[in-house]
């Protein structure tokens, strides 16, 4: 088997046809992790023993004729998902020695679906950042050029996927943390609608925004994982009762007549190479029969301000529980970025300032939601660059008090409105770094964005291109 070429859908078939066992597959990934980790630094913890046990169990089930959605498939999980008995740090020294006594709902669902857990991936500490440089354990590296950052906060997840150190990865996004690292690492990253995937057991960042989702090699693999993750969870009252469709069924549906909205404001200040590549992608969509239509959207610069206020307010509230009494270390272990966010959030929520900042931001959030609703009356989807730049060099975030918010300007509006979005690789810069488009859909339109992404990927299968590692 050549794991660089392997996809989840292919591996599922191979395992079923007994071309190789899950143990053999898992060993191949563990071997590659050993070989590449000194350069890529994608993982916080590699769970070798757990992985081999999971794989043996999967092989027994396959032998017994059992069929589960991800049986025997090796995956990595971001280190902010609670994993029973396995250290979970959210890349913060506060949780350096924390061993959760329970599984996050996402982890439980993946286990029930038969996965092999390869390990927990590095991230910005508490998911505060867009680079992995705020990780208390050091930054991960971009597999396309290890002098560059993978993006973040799910940077370890995206790097593990791009380096083929896993067959699929689980990340989480508050605003950009799946799509932006996926864009910088040249992989597929899906941020589901808020409430489509349970947040139970995920170390919380911005509770009105957090959305777990898959980072994968292909769009089809993304659909396969979403199928397992999506659905109502009694432990998370914000998960909706909306029925979960079969996400793989309509992937290859033709997109003739689909209307795609493109807004000029989403190209402002975007690197020219990125802009040109996204414009090429739009031509491909036209070739596939879609109508590309210019639309007006509320400028994303307001979303940066709304997001900064809401996220930091929610962060200050969520991090209040970390006092070192019941678990973890005390608050002196919080890093600079966490302190910065807690301080601003505490200030904007404090007496006398609530209306001026927090309540004002909640009102502009309504304006942004209404703006998207209006736009989706005329178009089925919206396409824009995912990130204004390609991957930045290591060290780029130093002393930048709003680095993340500015890097994620193009994904923040859709996150604030709770919409779904997917990053699909669309090209490479002259320096050989990946470029991605994002396809944004209305709430609970995952089927439609996956369909459009799949059709585009079929025309431009960039996942076949591999970094030199």
């Amino acid at each position: 088997m050549d794991i660089k070429k392997l996809t989840i859908s292919q591996a599922k078939e191979d395992l079923k046809n007994k071309k190789y066992s899950s143990v053999e597959l898992t060993k191949a990934y563990l071997e590659r992790i050993k070989q590449l980790e000194p350069h890529v630094k994608a993982y916080m913890t590699v769970t070798e023993e757990e992985a081999l046990n999971n794989a043996k169990e999967a092989d027994n089930k396959i032998a017994a004729g059992e069929d589960l959605p991800l049986l025997g498939i090796p995956l990595s999980i971001k280190d902010n998902f609670s994993t029973k008995g396995i250290r979970t740090t959210a890349s913060s020294k506060v949780l350096d020695n924390y061993i959760p006594p329970y599984d996050a709902t996402v982890v439980e669902r993946l286990k029930n679906a038969g996965i092999v857990l390869l390990g927990k991936t590095n991230m910005d500490a508490w998911a505060h950042g867009s680079s992995t440089e705020t990780s208390d354990y050091g930054a991960s590296r971009n597999p396309w050029n290890t002098e560059h950052l993978p993006g973040g906060s799910s940077g370890g997840a995206a790097a593990s996927m791009a380096a083929d150190e896993t067959l699929g990865a689980i990340g989480s996004e508050t605003a950009g943390s799946i799509r932006q690292p996926a864009s910088w690492c040249g992989v597929v990253g899906l941020k589901p609608t808020y409430g489509r995937v349970s947040r139970y057991g995920v170390v919380a960042m911005g509770s009105s925004l957090d959305s777990p989702g898959p980072i994968t090699k292909t769009v089809e693999d993304s659909a396969l994982i979403l199928q397992v993750l999506a659905g109502q969870d009694p432990h998370d009252a914000t998960t909706g009762p909306n029925p979960v469709p079969d996400y793989t069924k309509n992937l290859a549906h033709d997109i003739k007549g689909m209307t795609i909205g493109v807004a000029d404001d989403y190209f402002e200040g975007v690197n020219p190479e990125v802009k040109a590549s996204v414009e090429d992608a739009l031509k491909t969509f036209e070739k596939l029969g879609a109508n590309v239509k210019t639309i007006n959207l509320f400028s994303p610069k307001y979303a940066i301000a709304v997001y900064t206020i809401l996220q930091r307010a929610e962060v200050s509230s969520n991090l209040a529980r970390y006092d070192g009494i019941r678990y973890g270390n005390d608050r002196s272990f919080l890093g600079d970025e966490a302190k910065r966010r807690v301080m601003l959030g505490t200030y904007t929520l404090s007496a006398g300032y609530y209306d001026q900042y927090y309540n004002k931001a909640l009102k502009v959030r309504t304006v942004i939601i209404e703006d998207f609703k209006r736009a989706f009356k005329d178009v089925d989807l919206i396409i824009s660059p995912t990130s204004p730049t390609t991957a930045l060099p290591v060290g780029a975030t130093e002393n930048q008090s709003m680095f993340g918010e500015l890097a994620d300007v193009l994904v923040e509006p859709s996150s604030i409105a709770g919409l779904c979005g997917i990053n699909v690789p669309c090209g490479f810069s002259k320096a050989g770094l990946p470029i991605g488009i994002q396809i944004i859909g209305p709430q609970f339109a995952e089927e439609t964005i996956l369909n459009a992404a799949y059709e585009y990927q079929t025309e431009n299968p960039l996942y076949l291109k591999k970094p030199n590692l």
């Binding site: 924390y98 808020y194 909706g240 009494i325 608050r331 601003l344 505490t346 009102k363």
Partner: protein, 94 residues
Amino acid sequence: MKLDVRHIAKLANLPLSQEEEKKLEKQLTETLTYVEILQGVNTDKIQPTAHVTGLENVVRQDKTDESLTQKQALSNTQNLHNGFFTVNAILEND
């Protein structure tokens, strides 16, 4: 605008060094200046949105469910006494 960084740190229960206080004062002021942009958006007749998908009054049966055992709940603490968490006293005699 002058931020009382020490007061905010007290509200947030954050131990800060003098150096950190100074740095944060500058950075927080920068961020607050950036978000001023929102004052330019007219929100006179707009309702605030806290929850985006429109779910309301999510309830469940009033039944207890499986939960962590005492041993599990205490498994990560360094402040253990007779099966309880120990905390610093907040009330004092006399």
